[in-house]
Amino acid sequence: MTVRPSHDEIRELLAAFALDAVDGDEAEAVELHVRDCPRCRAEVVDHREAAGALATGHEPAPVATWNTIVDELESAPPMRLAAVLPVPASRWRRSLRVAVAATAAACLAVLGVRVVQQEQRFDAVQAALEERTVLAAALAAHGSSDARQADLRSADGAVLAHAVLVPDGTGYLWTDGLPRAAAERTYQLWAIIGTERISAGVLGPSPGVAPFRFAGDVVGLAITEEVAGGVVASQNQPVASGLIVDA
């Protein structure tokens, strides 16, 4: 059985990993670790940025390289493929009207497909960037000197999520081994103030990274699993909980 490297062992590998100088199982272990560890992920980002400084080119890529890329772009869009569909010369006269109608229909159909594809692609890029914007904000909060944080653990002590809270009342939670909630269920975050649990937001079945707002003297956080849509007050035991401490 492969022994999972410790956090310190992973940290020693981060710079080499950023330079693609780690391979095999070790690279896989680092990859898995940085996916869930914002601090280590931030370090890899820093190393890659620094390495990039060494790669400044003093001449542009050859013109032929761009021309090849242009050729590839041209061949890809479906609308362009439809537009150049040839009408056989021998049947040109008798099939002109049919061909024009068919080509127009094909172009419209393909244009429709292309518009849908563009919509989907644009939505995907927007969604990815929005999610990553949250992640970037979470990373920035995590590095902030006045932030407080919490590790949310299950009853058996396993860390399932981390949270960071900044003084302006913004918090970020990111999961670290929290399994996907069952069908028709959702996770919900609770801020613990005194002896009360106040909802800090419905997280969905697979939260990933989630921002939340809080007010008051929050001493801890808890996650419960609830029916889809969330509840006003929970009767369930927390899936994970943790006290907030200074970073």
């Binding site: 710079a15 820093d46 060494l54 003093h58 001449e59 542009p60 914007t133």
Partner: protein, 221 residues
């Protein structure tokens, strides 16, 4: 598009024929063609997500030189380096959502992809190359000058200052790993040092390099 063979930015026709879907969004995410030159990485990538050729052209204008230089340095082969450049920018075109602003700049994203592809290529024929390199690297390490890789005068000065802060052992290990395409284990073999030592030198060197770049006021173009 087919007739447009000029270098990016010299040819305004790249984006002309492309349909433009306008959707709600912040100013940062909805960029007019004239604004592309000053667009942020995220805005540029969103424009690429809308299949705007001029946005890809702008990304190519900004970053292709560095991508090409890095690939050529690792591969030591201009033709293969061009293939890497094509692959990197076509991937950006086909899957712009893979760029993650939370994981650094567009420049470092493209360079990281180029480096990975170049290293894969180097290692795919490593059994042949490794034997040749073992001897060649021993010679070239002594002669190689990291500062020569940097062309832009102002940027070069900043990078030179930062590189000068590295200890010789750190610099040697980073060069072999980054430009030589070697794993840290191979670097340890080449330099006849323990693997742990090489890991530590690479990490301490990269941390020192980053701090040196910050101190020198380095800002990538």
């Amino acid at each position: 598009m087919g007739q447009c063979r000029d270098k990016p930015r010299q040819c305004e026709r790249h984006g002309g024929a492309e349909p433009s879907l306008r959707r709600g969004g912040s100013e940062d995410r909805d960029v007019g063609r004239d604004d592309l030159r000053d667009a942020s990485d995220a805005a540029l990538v969103v424009a690429i997500g809308r299949w705007r050729h001029d946005a890809l052209s702008e990304a190519f204008r900004r970053h292709s030189g560095a991508v090409f230089a890095l690939a050529r340095r690792v591969l030591n082969d201009a033709a293969r380096a061009e293939e890497v450049v094509q692959e990197v920018f076509l991937r950006l075109w086909n899957a712009p959502e893979r760029f993650d602003p939370g994981r650094g700049s567009l420049r470092s994203y493209l360079l990281a992809h180029a480096h990975g592809r170049a290293v894969d290529a180097v290692r795919s024929d490593s059994s042949r190359r490794r034997r040749e390199d073992r001897d060649a690297v021993r010679v070239s390490v002594a002669d190689y000058d990291l500062e020569r890789e940097v062309g832009d005068v102002i940027v070069a000065e900043h990078v030179r200052e930062a590189v000068a802060t590295l200890a010789p052992g750190e610099r040697e290990a980073i060069e072999l790993a980054y430009f030589g395409g070697h794993t840290y284990r191979d670097v340890a073999l080449i330099l006849d040092q323990p693997e742990g030592t090489i890991k530590s030198r690479i990490r301490s060197g990269m941390i020192r390099l980053r701090q040196g770049l910050l101190d020198a006021g380095y800002a990538p173009s």
